[in-house]
């Protein structure tokens, strides 16, 4: 059932991250309807209050919008979704950098390392 949650981060944030990554990967598109709070709660295996909070926080971030009587939809504002993608990129890079610095690598070494291990990968763009 559902997702395995990390123990050290609020569940609502982990579900927000999950929805955000699905949007970035294109699995959820602008204007798509989100499943009802109850259905989504059953799907991921958490309490309905938690999903309610997820939808509320995403709405405050203007990533989703709720339409009275119709449900909750992913925003159609492309620039907001583009910004979400940029935010996620920045966030993951930040945490990568701080992990690597924690092990004593310099930013220069990181860039070299990334270049080496990604050789040939980006050709199909």
């Amino acid at each position: 059932m559902g997702i395995d949650f990390k123990p050290d981060k609020p569940i609502y944030q982990q579900i927000m991250d999950r929805i955000s990554s699905e949007i970035i990967r294109g699995e959820r598109q602008a204007g798509d309807k989100l499943t009802s709070v109850r259905e989504y709660a059953v799907e991921v295996g958490v309490n309905a209050n938690t999903i309610q909070r997820v939808y509320r926080e995403l709405e405050q971030m203007e990533i989703v919008e709720s339409r009275r009587g119709q449900g909750t939809f992913i925003t159609e504002k492309q620039e907001r979704l583009h910004q979400l993608r940029e935010d996620m990129k920045r966030q993951y890079i930040q945490s990568f950098i701080s992990d690597m610095q924690g092990m004593g690598f310099s930013v220069h070494e990181m860039i070299d390392g990334i270049r080496q291990s990604s050789e040939g990968e980006d050709n199909n763009d």
């Binding site: 559902g2 981060k9 609020p10």
Partner: protein, 236 residues
């Protein structure tokens, strides 16, 4: 809202609950946790009006708890009771006659959901299916408070998962509140709003589960172990 004000419960010389004050808000799923003998079951029985406090006050929505509170509270016992001569359907009809809030439609839906055969006699069910039936009978009441004493104990992981799923699907938190005791923290944690930790009949702590993760970076189990160690250190 459930309120305890300086409650004590003694069994003869044994003190099961000591100077216990707490407020439990509506619309949440609340887990009561703690080692064996810490007073969890006693606490639930006090809420359900099955026991009277030796001292102190308990109110449910402002009303003093008495046997009449059973109108408001659906209680799942940790005992393996259930009328073995009834079929599941007969038991449903019996509950329907006893509780005005028993929702037959909901019960029928849950029978499908839990994959039970309504024609089977209770006495012929496996332990796992008896666990499912107990859960079904409790959740099918549209009572404002659902109190469950160890609903997962002794059940295999698949039955536990189906009960957790049923809890999410069939409880309406805009009108209902769930209070349960459990040792299966890893599995249940993701559906809890709040956790209440008991030790030796006392309240050690109460917190929102998300807050524990956010502020302490701990799971509920780690938090409970941490509180127990702190308590031990302070006593030493």
């Amino acid at each position: 809202m459930i309120k305890f004000d300086a409650v004590y419960k003694k069994y003869f010389l044994n003190v099961a609950i000591k100077d216990f004050s707490i407020t439990l808000e509506k619309g949440n799923i609340i887990g009561i946790i703690g080692e064996n003998g810490s007073g969890k079951s006693t606490l639930l029985r006090l809420i359900a009006g099955l026991l009277n406090p030796s001292k102190g006050n308990i109110t449910v929505d402002g009303e003093h708890v008495s046997r009449e509170i059973r109108e408001k509270i659906a209680y799942l016992t940790d005992q393996d009771y259930y009328f073995p001569y009834f079929t599941i359907r007969e038991l449903m009809n019996y509950y329907h006659s006893q509780f005005s809030d028993f929702n037959i439609t909901k019960a029928e839906n849950m029978i499908d959901f839990l994959q039970l055969d309504p024609g089977t006699k209770i006495g012929h069910l496996s332990k796992g299916n008896r666990g499912r039936v107990k859960f079904l009978m409790t959740i099918s009441r549209n009572a404002p408070y659902i109190i469950m004493d160890e609903p997962f104990s002794g059940l295999d992981p698949m039955v536990r998962a189906s009960i957790i799923k049923g809890l999410i699907q069939f409880v309406d938190l805009s009108r209902q509140t769930v209070i349960l005791t459990t040792h299966e923290l890893k599995e249940v944690e993701s559906v809890l709003d709040e956790a209440v930790v008991l030790k030796a009949g006392r309240l050690l702590a109460k917190s929102s589960v998300e807050q524990i993760r956010e502020e302490l970076n701990m799971s509920v189990l780690e938090w409970m172990e941490h509180l127990y160690q702190e308590e031990k250190r302070l006593k030493a």
